[in-house]
């Protein structure tokens, strides 16, 4: 329950930037706008009493049903959700930050959506963001060298997108 002062601090400091808070979830999470993400992270890392010095993982969840029948049944519009799992070695707290972004920039298919990079806050975010870019297709703005990390450089598409299709062939190797 130590997260509650944290939420009020965040609300006081960032106001409109904090979109949603869920303290009933298995892991309490806070949703912020992409605009304040870096400032929130910087604050969480440095604020006395919280000190989230460790960024454990950065995950992108793709919310899209490729089946129109299933898509009609859900109450969300297609979007990407970035999930930042933070923890603190100093205070042993944990927190989940969420950011929602559209699946494509300005709705143009193939144009990767952007979100500010937090590689300047935690060095470990560098590789996590490269992985998220590689597998889920998110453009991290301000990242020092955003390029693929697990897939080859000439790989096409982003495999963890729900509408991804495995290529038929790659350099003469059969795909499907």
């Amino acid at each position: 329950m130590s997260e509650i002062p944290l939420v009020s601090e965040l609300r006081a400091k960032f106001g409109e930037g904090i979109i949603d808070v869920n303290l009933e979830a298995i892991d309490e999470w806070v949703e912020v706008t992409p605009g304040v993400l870096v400032e929130v992270c910087q604050y969480l890392k440095e604020a006395e009493g919280f000190r989230f010095d460790m960024c454990n993982s950065i995950t992108v969840v793709d919310y899209l049903h490729t089946d129109p029948k299933k898509a009609a049944k859900v109450d969300w519009d297609p979007h990407l959700e970035l999930v930042y799992h933070l923890s603190s070695i100093a205070t042993k707290l944990t927190l989940v930050l969420k950011v929602k972004i559209p699946r494509w920039k300005n709705g143009v298919e193939g144009d990767l959506p952007g979100v500010p990079s937090v590689a300047g806050v935690w060095s470990t975010a560098d590789w996590h963001e490269r992985e998220a870019y590689d597998l889920s297709g998110v453009n991290f703005l301000g990242h020092p060298h955003l390029k693929r990390i697990l897939c080859p450089d000439d790989w096409e598409g982003h495999p963890l997108r729900k509408d991804y299709e495995m290529p038929l062939e790659y350099h003469g190797i059969r795909g499907r």
Partner: protein
């Protein structure tokens, strides 16, 4: 290129310009622990830049997880850190149990402590042996594998497999330990305790080993945290953090009532805490820390693993007692097509190589909407580039080896 005319030969000596050279190390290099490729930018013997290239073992296990049920994905976790597959099984099992709010019977908890600590010993033995190999010493490898073989025999008896176990599952384990297993395990521990001082004589204070590792690849505590390093790599830099003590309640309660130490040097004095553990009736005398060693260097990362092995022995001894004192159910696996609630859960456990995290998002179906594996080796490896700047070429295997990475887990 020196093109100017110089009369004095001594001037030439200082004027010789060498070209920068790009060297490919790996992906088939024996000291890169699998298929890691390092592109080194060198000037003579001095390395100015290292860029790791990963992905040679990438099979997008996370995407596969979006097409299988929680229990069906267990074998894929085996193939992540294949040197500590039991600990990978445990991490995934715990996150699914957290999501389902399932509480394991007490007997199952002790069983898991026995199995996961045995896995830690086996993994650290390989770490020790291959680190010796990296630095040109073959003997520790044989000694390490000889002991590991005995653990694998025990694992084989418990679950039928020697490398990819799929033994611990969400809900408990696939089977209870067979009759007479704990006696064999006790026998192993008694033998292993004799061997630990022997293992220390091979490398720990060996002067060649010390000069190859002490003072090399020094990582400050701040840097280790910033790069997300965990496990022995983090504790080798003097950060007192072990999820078995400091993790989530669901994980720490597994170790409730157990007595063991977190192996971590005091950053002030550089000394490791005195162990009060009775080893052969008297306390084990660990080898002295060589004076060349600096907190956070390769030698300390190695030493932390060597001491952790003893703590694991200590834990298993207690766990066997507790396991035998409890009777009843050890926890049956959940249904193969168990539906997952529309919730999400994240959990990290202390695997031998660091904090292994699993994240799962459910949508009411038995197949998860998204699974994610946060790999400890992945984060530990990300520190190589800053650590390897300005060092000698021959120190690269020493640094990469001390991080003890497993590529199966990095590439997933």
């Amino acid at each position: 290129m020196a093109t100017s005319k110089i009369d004095d030969p001594r001037v030439i000596e200082f004027d010789v310009r060498t070209d920068e050279m790009l060297i490919n190390m790996g992906p088939q290099h024996p000291s890169t622990h699998g298929v890691l490729r390092l592109v080194l930018r060198t000037d003579g013997e001095v390395v100015s830049d290292v860029e790791p290239h990963l992905g040679y073992l990438h099979r997008c296990a996370e995407k596969i997880g979006e097409n299988l049920t929680a229990r069906q994905w267990i074998p894929y976790t085996d193939r992540m850190d294949y040197l500590a597959a039991m600990n990978m099984n445990l991490g995934w099992s715990l996150v699914i149990e957290k999501m389902l709010e399932y509480d394991l019977p007490e007997r199952g908890r002790h069983l898991r402590v026995i199995i996961s600590e045995m896995g830690r010993i086996a993994s650290h033995l390989v770490a020790m042996g291959t680190y010796g190999l990296d630095l040109g010493s073959f003997t520790p490898f044989l000694y390490g594998f000889r002991e590991r073989e005995k653990i694998l025999n025990l694992f084989e008896e418990a679950c039928g497999a020697r490398l990819t176990y799929s033994y611990l599952t969400p809900g408990g384990a696939t089977a209870d330990l067979p009759a007479g297993w704990t006696d064999k395990c006790r026998q192993f521990l008694a033998e292993f305790k004799e061997v630990v001082p022997e293992l220390h004589t091979l490398l720990t204070t060996n002067s060649i080993f010390v000069s190859r590792t002490a003072g090399i690849g020094v990582m400050s505590a701040k840097m280790a945290i910033d790069y997300g390093c965990t496990g022995p790599v983090l504790r080798g830099s003097g950060v007192y953090h072990d999820l078995r003590f400091h993790g989530e309640e669901r994980y720490t309660e597994m170790y409730e009532g157990y007595v063991f130490d977190v192996i971590c040097a005091d950053p002030e004095t550089g000394k490791y805490p005195e162990s009060n553990y009775e080893f052969h009736g008297d306390s084990l005398d660990y080898p002295e820390i060589p004076r060349q060693a600096i907190l956070g260097d390769c030698w300390h990362r190695f030493y932390v693993r060597m001491l952790e092995v003893v703590q694991s022995v200590r834990l298993i001894e207690q766990a066997i007692e507790k396991y035998e004192a409890t009777s009843g159910d050890w926890g049956k696996p959940i249904k193969l097509v168990q539906k997952l609630p529309a919730k999400e859960a994240y959990m990290e456990t202390e695997a031998p190589r660091g904090q292994m995290g699993f994240y799962v998002v459910g949508n009411g179906d038995s197949i998860p909407w998204r699974v994610r594996a946060r790999s400890s080796s992945f984060c530990n490896l990300s520190v190589t580039a800053p650590l390897c700047q300005g060092i000698l070429l021959a120190d690269i295997p020493a640094i990469v080896g001390s991080l003890d990475v497993v590529m199966g887990e990095i590439d997933r």
